[in-house]
């Protein structure tokens, strides 16, 4: 029965999860129930273990994994975390146990449920990351900042920062996640996370209140014109169009403005 399993409550962070793996070996628990601090509601008569996130312990687990699995699989393990799917914490926990309990090389056993789940979840996150690299639409504001609002399915801002910093190294920019209420900002030198209060967020969402660069209107128009001109009407295929550009993203795409 699930309820007989020890319950670990951790803070929901990546390091917290790795600390939980560390503690489970200390306590000789091979299988547990995982819960995060903000979602856990204690029940009568059932004890639980609170995991105190410990960077040193987490890094030992991370390094331990590094010794046993390929760099590509390390990256998959990390990426899967950002899916924020309800079951992903437990899959990652069990994956770590599976890797530690077997000789090196078992990260290739796609016949095993957790190994395959991590690979497939990571792939889903990767697709969303790639989509955001494609679908970010910057608008230039009066002070030269290029800003964009997004609403990704998974929490991919931490994964896309490097791409945008490498590419747009000579312009300051800000990408804001509307759902998760934080953004990443590049100021020509460094990249950092910013949390913006509600009124400012409103200001970004409602572009009327932000001072827009004088040229912005022209390039928005030209881009919409281009999007129309480059289409071949005789080949119209809306099913394929929507498959590639799902409707939930239209609100954030310049070329789809007013199409919803």
């Amino acid at each position: 029965m699930l309820t007989d399993l020890p319950v670990y409550v951790f803070d929901g962070t990546f390091y917290g999860l790795l600390t939980a793996v560390f503690e489970s070996y200390e306590r000789k628990h091979s299988i547990v129930q995982l819960s995060t601090t903000d979602s856990y509601t204690p029940e009568f008569f059932s004890g639980h273990t609170t995991i105190h996130t410990d960077r040193a312990k987490a890094l030992r687990v991370w390094k331990g994994l590094q010794r046993k699995i390929t760099p590509a699989h390390m990256q998959q393990f990390y990426r899967a975390f950002f899916s924020e799917l309800p079951a992903v914490h437990l899959s990652m926990f069990r994956y770590a146990h599976y890797i530690f309990d077997h000789p090196a090389g078992y990260d290739g056993n796609y016949g095993h449920e957790d190994v395959l789940t991590i690979a497939q979840t990571a792939q889903r996150v990767h697709r969303e990351k790639h989509r955001m690299e494609a679908f970010v639409r910057f608008k230039k504001s009066g002070n030269g900042l290029f800003f964009a609002v997004v609403n990704p399915d998974y929490n991919v801002l931490p994964l896309i920062g490097r791409h945008f910093r490498n590419r747009y190294a000579d312009q300051p920019w800000l990408i804001y996640d509307e759902r998760r209420k934080y953004g990443i900002h590049y100021d020509l030198h460094t990249l950092h996370e910013v949390t913006i209060d509600f009124t400012k967020e409103q200001a970004i969402a409602e572009q009327g209140t932000v001072i827009i660069d004088a040229q912005e209107e022209l390039y928005t128009l030209l881009w919409k014109d281009y999007f129309k001109s480059t289409n071949i009407a005789e080949r119209r295929n809306m099913k394929l169009h929507i498959q590639h550009v799902p409707k939930r993203y239209w609100r954030y795409l310049t070329e789809k403005e007013g199409k919803l």
């Binding site: 796609y110 190294a169 881009w223 129309k228 289409n231 080949r235 099913k239 310049t254």
Partner: protein, 417 residues
């Protein structure tokens, strides 16, 4: 006040859209010295309503043209609006689109005004300005102008990521029929110039690290299909030859969209051959990634592709003696030949089977198209069949389960009375 540039953009984007290449991958240009842009595995920034990817700002420098190719909208004798961009206009469009993350880069083609060198020289000025003055490291796909001098073409190769020149028609005879002013020989000459220069630069780079990149994403070409009566065999054999001889990265197949009332070609209003185009791309993929030889798929006995089934399935049904393939023991090269198994799944299978024999539920979870593949494979718990179904039965069976994206109505049910 925006009207002039808006009009130019719509004319010159409209005229460029029949060039199907939109690839922005294969180059690895880094953003050095805090400039702008880089290239990598390519990104499709959006998709038009016809479902095609938009990765590059695809425009003509001008649609004025001295040639009169029957299949081309910009042909001399066609009565259409003409326009030309200035060098500055192309540069500022590219930069402003790029900075807003609309595009991966520029695809620049052109009609030929005055002569080939005059046109090529203008295009060269644009790419040089982007690279040298704007410090731009994004993707550039440049069309080679047929007949341009070797010196200009070679210099352009130092700034472009990809260069291409179109074969236009799959055979020389087809081209002569519709564009007597052009020839495949000229295309071959230009392709060879870039190929040889690329080889030279690459071998020099092995000795001197600082040797500049030369067309790092390679060359490609395009054929219009369905305008002239070539068979699929003619088309794919031509593609095969060009892949081999000119080390092309891609050959594109563009289904002809009727744009004129020329009696030599399909009439305006005829549906573009979309299924055929799709089957040709599938064949192209089988040749490039699945280790198929073109003669296995198309030969004198089978000069055309089956429109009902993809070429891999067609091939499998023609070669029943090869199947079933045992997933737990067969070579990778044989596994990728199974209908319903792609490269990714095959790689997973090869790694995973070291840890134990694979079963049906595992294969399904790995993402193979089991409904299709089941007739061609054996794994640990495959049901034992007394009699394998005949290829003809299999075809009916598979066609009945599949819902083709091209078929709108279900196939008609035969009635007894």
């Amino acid at each position: 006040m925006y009207e002039r540039i808006r009009e130019k953009l719509s004319i010159l984007a409209d005229a460029a859209k029949y060039d199907v290449s939109c690839s922005s991958s294969g180059s690895d240009r880094k953003n050095t010295g805090k400039g702008i842009g880089d290239t990598g595995s390519g990104i499709c920034h959006t998709y038009t309503e016809d479902g095609r990817c938009v990765s590059l700002l695809k425009i003509l420098l001008t649609n004025f043209c001295i040639y009169d190719c029957a299949f081309c909208v910009s042909r001399r004798s066609n009565d259409i609006r003409r326009a030309a961009f200035t060098v500055e206009e192309v540069v500022s469009l590219t930069m402003n689109f790029y900075r807003r993350n609309y595009i991966e880069g520029l695809f620049l083609s052109s009609g030929i005004f005055k002569d080939a060198d005059y046109t090529m020289e203008r295009m060269l000025r644009i790419v040089k300005k982007l690279r040298l003055e704007e410090n731009y490291n994004g993707y550039i796909h440049l069309k080679t102008i047929p007949g341009a001098s070797e010196a200009l073409v070679t210099e352009a190769g130092l700034y472009a990521d990809r260069m291409s020149i179109n074969l236009e028609m799959p055979t020389e005879q087809g081209l002569q029929l519709l564009a007597p002013e052009k020839s495949h020989e000229e295309v071959k000459r230009e392709l060879a110039v870039i190929r040889d220069q690329a080889v030279a630069y690459n071998s020099e780079r092995k000795l001197i690290k600082t040797t500049p990149k030369f067309v790092p994403a390679g060359q490609s070409t395009q054929m219009v299909i369905g305008a002239t009566p070539e068979s699929d065999k003619d088309i794919m054999h031509t593609a095969h030859t060009f892949y081999k001889q000119y080390a092309l990265k891609r050959v594109y197949y563009s289904g002809y969209i009727p744009i004129s009332n020329d009696s030599r070609m399909p009439a305006v209003g005829t549906q573009p051959p979309l299924i055929r185009e799709n089957r040709l791309y599938q064949t192209d993929w089988l040749m490039r990634f699945y280790d198929f030889d073109v003669t296995e798929l198309l030969n004198d006995e089978h000069p055309n592709l089956d429109m009902d089934m993809d070429p891999k399935l067609t091939w499998a049904l023609r070669n029943p003696h090869i199947f079933p393939v045992d997933i737990n023991t067969a070579d990778y090269k044989l596994i990728i030949r199974v209908p319903g198994i792609g490269i990714r799944s095959a790689q997973k299978i090869i790694v995973a089977r070291k840890f134990g024999k694979l079963h049906i539920h595992q294969l399904k979870k790995m993402g193979i198209a089991y409904n299709r593949a089941q007739y061609f494979i054996r794994c640990a718990d495959s049901p034992f069949l007394l009699r394998e179904p005949e290829p003809s039965q299999l075809k009916t069976l598979l066609l009945r389960q599949s819902t083709s994206k091209y078929r709108t109505a279900p196939p008609e049910q035969l009635t007894l009375f």
